[in-house]
């Protein structure tokens, strides 16, 4: 289950979406995330995502890099989901880095 999800995520192209061009995922990964800010922002996630779930996929297994990749893919529109596209649209690079620092499980 986890491997399959990760494979799906990683198979997606990293489309450009950052303001400065280049690889937006790499740009976010270069930021040291503010975990306390991430804890506050992450409370928005737990209203829908829960451990072990598949209907709304669990996110607790994801690494910080997985989080960055997924959120950037929703923000750029490379992955489509009405709720997640809307949620990610107002996340800046700092916010995504903060969420990755807080939520990232296996780093």
């Amino acid at each position: 289950m986890r491997a399959a999800l990760l494979a799906t995520l990683l198979a997606l192209p990293a489309t450009a979406g950052g303001a400065e061009g280049g690889d937006p995922v790499a740009a976010i990964l270069a930021i040291e995330g503010d975990a306390a800010y991430g804890a506050y922002l992450g409370a928005e996630c737990t209203g829908c995502h829960r451990e072990g779930a598949e209907d709304i996929p669990a996110i607790d297994w994801m690494t910080g890099e997985d989080i960055v990749f997924a959120l950037e893919s929703y923000r750029s529109g490379a992955r489509e989901h009405q709720v997640m596209n809307m949620i990610a649209a107002r996340l800046g690079d700092e916010e995504i880095a903060a969420l990755a620092a807080y939520l990232g499980a296996a780093d």
Partner: protein, 425 residues
């Protein structure tokens, strides 16, 4: 008795966390005290997040009369035969055991904002440094001529989940063949904007199975309603000829009922009905009025932190608040509670405070595996909670998309109730 035992559990749990606790702005009386009134999506979430994230540094008391809480959201699914009532039921045990919250099953009956105390029907007087009010809604007396709360057994509102939901379901099942189910829909603003129309869908779903010649009549004071295009298209496809809505153009705002005679008068036209679901106009729950933090029907609050416009030490969230652009929904209350929790911790401890951000999604079920949704994000401004961006399901979606939306709604229910009451896994 029960309160004392729980208070002891809460204190004992908190002691273990004292070493790691954040620095506290104590006011000469030990740990700062927060009282939360109302254990729904707003209050339970606020209590849990304040207690959890302050790691015992704040003493949190949650006042909620019911020991078993039935969520209003998804109660239409019980009405439609998709869920059992017990699927909607939750208890507060984990909030006490895991988060050290003093859960007091009692009615809050008074707030003294000068003395900063809350009094309860059971005789407790609870001091607070910050008060969080999340009392939900009450009905406006006289809103539907002929109806008052004493008529709720003859003509149920079923807009607070529990016995009213069961009663309305039993009445639908007892309708004579080809009978009439009437709904008196509420004016804006009210709890759960798509709720009445999801309810019509669920009643139609039930009637299609057991009483397919029955009719549904909606008297509606509103020109338009939430997800209207989606509902009307869905009704035409799934329940053709069953549902008629009378809007204000045809007298839908000029309604009287007679619960003894089981009649509904729409613009003077008196009709005999078999079931009548009266959903009256709404206002903030009574304790918000008693506390003196309402202006008219609702409690005005700042968009940045949901602090009352009348009192910096009182926060009002969820359905009771006049906050701006967010719909009155369980999801909204849960989202607002996290902003309130952050603001309260910032005021009472050295916790960092971050800019308010909110979101909401409302899912509705039209028919088997046919779910739709509407959602938006919001930011806090001094003036109000202001909408940033949003979406709504489309009328031309595939059955697969609708089925995915329904499954997503089930996932949301499991997640938000775990977020309110503590994880059950």
């Amino acid at each position: 008795m029960d309160f004392n035992r729980r208070a002891f559990i809460g204190t004992a749990a908190a002691l273990g966390a004292t070493l790691a606790a954040p620095h506290v702005r104590a006011d000469g009386h030990g740990r700062p005290r927060v009282v939360v009134v109302g254990g729904g999506a707003g209050g339970a979430t606020a209590a849990r997040y304040i207690a959890k994230d302050s790691e015992g540094a704040i003493d949190v008391t949650l006042i909620e009369p019911t020991r078993k809480y039935y969520t209003c959201f998804f109660s239409n699914l019980a009405l439609g035969g998709f869920w059992d009532m017990e699927d909607l039921a939750h208890s507060y045990g984990k909030l006490a055991a895991d988060n050290g919250i003093n859960v007091l099953h009692d009615w809050a009956v008074g707030v003294d904002r000068d003395a900063k105390t809350v009094s309860t029907a059971g005789g407790h007087v609870l001091p607070y440094d910050k008060l969080v009010l999340s009392p939900g809604i009450d009905f406006v007396e006289g809103a539907v001529p002929g109806w008052d709360v004493s008529a709720q057994n003859a003509m149920p509102h079923a807009y607070k989940a529990g016995s009213q939901t069961e009663l309305l379901k039993a009445q639908v099942l007892a309708m004579p063949e080809g009978g009439v189910f009437a709904m008196v829909a509420p004016p804006n603003p009210y709890r759960c904007p798509p709720g009445p129309y999801e309810r019509v869908s669920m009643v139609a779903h039930m009637l299609r199975e057991v009483n397919p010649t029955a009719k549904i009549l909606i008297a509606d004071p509103k020109e338009t309603f939430s997800k209207q295009g989606l509902f009307e298209q869905g009704w035409g496809l799934a329940y053709p000829g069953m549902i008629e809505r009378v809007g204000p153009d045809f007298g839908g705002e000029n309604v009287e009922v007679d619960p003894a005679a089981m009649t509904v008068s729409i613009d003077g036209d008196v009709q005999q009905v078999d079931v009548c679901n009266v959903i009256p106009a709404m206002q903030a729950g009574k304790i918000a009025h008693d506390a003196g933090v309402t202006d008219g029907r609702w409690a005005p609050v700042r968009g940045t932190d949901l602090a009352s416009r009348m009192d910096e030490d009182v926060y009002v969230l969820g359905d009771a608040a006049a906050q701006g652009d967010m719909p009155k929904s369980g999801y909204s209350a849960n989202s607002q509670a996290k902003v309130v929790a952050n603001a309260v911790r910032g005021a009472l401890t050295d916790a960092r405070v971050f800019p308010a951000r909110y979101s909401n999604t409302c899912w509705s079920l039209i028919d088997d595996e046919n779910g739709v949704k509407v959602g938006a994000t919001y930011e806090g401004t001094e003036e109000k909670i202001a909408k940033v961006d949003g979406f709504v399901s489309q009328t031309d979606e595939t059955p697969q998309t609708r089925a995915e939306t329904f499954r997503e709604s089930l996932g949301w229910y499991a997640a938000i109730t775990a977020d309110m009451f503590g994880a059950t896994s």
